[in-house]
Symmetry: C2
Amino acid sequence: MSNLEPKVLDQDEAAVACCSPMVREPLGEAAAVDLAKMFKALSDPVRLRLLSLIASHEGGEACVCDLTGPFDVSQPTISHHLKVLREAGLVGSERRGTWVYYWVLPAALAKLSALLQAPTGESG
Amino acid sequence: MSNLEPKVLDQDEAAVACCSPMVREPLGEAAAVDLAKMFKALSDPVRLRLLSLIASHEGGEACVCDLTGPFDVSQPTISHHLKVLREAGLVGSERRGTWVYYWVLPAALAKLSALLQAPTGESG
DNA sequence: TACTTGTTTCGACGACTGTCGATACAGGTG
DNA sequence: CACCTGTATCGACAGTCGTCGAAACAAGTA
């Protein structure tokens, strides 16, 4: 098909897609609510470090016992932050015997990354 | 100088660079604090829509008068959110006569986008 | 069973956030 | 000057968030 006529994207379509750069088309209200939850999960320094600690850990996953050491906050607080990351869909978790392991869900990060992609070469 | 010897990245350097994917190396505490502020600015649906509305607006910039219409919140609230975006370094603004114009700072978005880039092909 | 270790949940507290109406400020017009 | 429009700031309020200690739950060991 030709693209002679300009494509018209309505808000709903942007909301469903929700993965294309936000600089190209306005975000729908529903998509914004959904994405805001993910960004909120990233809006705390401890959670940001937790995420990168998990992602960069050997094997791509880390036990909670690996994650409590590097922080000044209590272990229940770490557990709380991990729960926030999990409920935001940014990490997965599984119990194996005594320990609970967490890993990053790459698709979620990629989704946010794509959304923020800006045309730096053109307008910057 | 040659770069024959392998480069060693310590935490401090990661904190300064703060633009490489967080999945490769743990984020430093200072970098995490800095980045969390930006993500916090993105953690509200109204601000997310404001940002995409500004970015996708004709000419890459939008007057505040273009931004108050699409929302159910009051004008002072929009002004507040724009201030948050500006103080987070995500948008720039300038007064021209009666109107105030806002535009997206692409480098900031690119910085966050790069940080979130995940190796989807390898581990996902 | 009792005990130990790893992890989550609970309840509480202070701090921060999003929202509003009222008000102040900036700039154009008559 | 007075007046109007566009935008930002102020002060207040309800709701949310990050944190803690205490307690509960999960799983292994003796």
